[in-house]
Symmetry: C2
Subunit: 307 residues, 2 copies
């Protein structure tokens, strides 16, 4: 089989306010585009058609690391050629490395006749995250692979739960400032007050209940992060101004996307989500911080073949 | 109206392993039985037909405190006579004071023509909890009033969310040892490792998802408490032996009921729940700890009029 496939792999928002390290959701755009085909070399060959100068040594590239871990698991020596066509801007906080990792394992799985389910692919894509950020998180790769909202209930053993959602729109704004995931992890406290932890798990449980019952108000009431946001907000200039602007414009909730610097908001329809986008953008523009904003429905399907 | 009503108010299991201070569920039995009627004195008069020697000064009695807070809210000077007929054993860890508080506010609400919904009554019943244990918790009074599983998403403002559940059976064993709620709170750490907190909120979210989807396996996988149980287990002799016996007998999960000393297990059907009861009882009997065990389906209705 010398079929060449083109894959779209979605950006994702991890943490979702109250769900630090466990919740995430996928977006319709932006996303990575990657083409993949088998090759006869027995090696993973990487090609970069993006403007980002991606690392192309297999051991430093999230896609290759993820793909290799899957090939190791099925004891395959199949070679693959992966060409990066479009890339979510690295470091934006919307799961750029997760999208690449998901694309790699999904594409290989398709080309090998689907030995694994999407859920099973999460464990391999996580290895790409480890290569990219130093820790094998699943809160971005799970929604990238499975679509929608996902809950990583447990890491050992890995237990990923899809959570249904009503029609809901995300607004994500990416201010052009750099926050390194490793830095944004370092500043977190290793111990948290139990009172705050209880508030947090009340909200995570509320968010899941709200998603199951299509209860927008409950979703909104649950989108609070009393543990991580107060610390990471320090790394994002104007965070609270932008958040307030989003809420004033009608967003259900607003918090940091993953480890930042992107900020996300959720809204009950596209019209509000666009209004929220404008309000967030105005906030950054006022202080001269360059930014990109995008509005997207939740992507329910996850990574997919587009050609 | 000089109608006299008889009320059944259910025992409840708070915390439900992973949901410290936020989750709870109601049982069909045991429960409190209380009769209530209006009186013309403008006072709350308490009578005790139970063998427990309940405190009958209104300011020290959970039922009276809860009832008075509701009367204050509607600026009513109506007097009520409350007779305690049957009582869950105080200090057993299955919401004895919550059942009394719920009975008081529910009964008065019925006799006054239902000015409040069951959910609205939670705020008043909490005041009874405060009188009984020093803190105004809602994780027992919410399921006692509303039935089923409940989530207390937030205390300020109070936000109680009913969570549907599949057919599920609880086994609760009460070893005849005394654990005071105030003691069992004192030994909790005020700070917890963030890693454990993340595990816990993954599990709470998983439990809610499992209850919504009737996924017994997910419910079972989520019934882990990595924060409170390891500390409170120290106050309950043989806790881990009993827990293991329950799991070996087929329980989905097992943990401490509220602040203990009762231990609860959940099972997918009554046959397993009975087997679990036997196994738990054998465990305590072997070491000569007197105990009572009961098996009950989840009570979906909550406190109700029975005569």
């Amino acid at each position: 089989m010398s079929k060449k496939i083109k894959i779209f792999s979605p950006a994702t928002v991890a943490n979702v306010a109250c769900g630090f390290d466990v919740m995430g959701f996928a977006l319709n755009s932006p996303g990575d585009e990657v083409s993949m085909e088998k090759n006869a070399s027995g090696k993973i060959i990487l090609q970069d058609d993006t403007p980002y100068g991606l690392p192309l040594e297999p051991e430093k590239n999230a896609t290759a690391v993820a793909l290799q871990s899957m090939l190791d698991a099925i004891r395959s020596r199949q070679g693959f050629t992966v060409t990066f066509l479009k890339k979510i801007m690295p470091g934006s906080g919307v799961g750029s490395s997760a999208a690449s990792s998901a694309a790699g394992v999904f594409g290989a799985n398709e080309l090998l006749g689907r030995p694994y389910t999407r859920k099973e692919l999460v464990q391999f894509a996580m290895q790409g995250e480890k290569a990219a950020s130093g820790s094998a998180h699943a809160d971005n790769v799970a929604p990238a692979l499975m679509g929608g909202f996902t809950l990583v209930r447990s890491y050992s053993p890995l237990d990923v739960i899809p959570v249904p959602s009503p029609e809901i729109y995300a607004t994500v704004i990416h201010p052009q400032i750099e926050v390194r995931t490793s830095d944004s992890r370092k500043i977190l406290r290793q111990e948290v007050p139990i009172k705050k932890a209880v508030e947090q798990w009340g909200n995570v449980a509320g968010l899941v209940a709200g998603l199951f019952t299509n209860d927008y108000d409950l979703i909104g009431r649950s989108l609070h992060d009393v543990i991580v946001e107060p610390v990471r907000a320090l790394l994002i200039p104007e965070f609270y101004t932008i958040k307030q602007a989003a809420l004033d414009a009608g967003a259900l909730g607003c918090s940091i996307s993953g480890s930042g610097p992107s900020i996300f908001a959720l809204s009950r329809n596209e019209k509000i989500a666009q209004k929220v986008a404008q309000a967030m953008q105005d906030g950054f523009n006022k202080v001269g911080i360059e930014n990109h904003v995008f509005v997207s429905q939740i992507n329910k399907e996850g990574v997919r073949i587009v050609g």
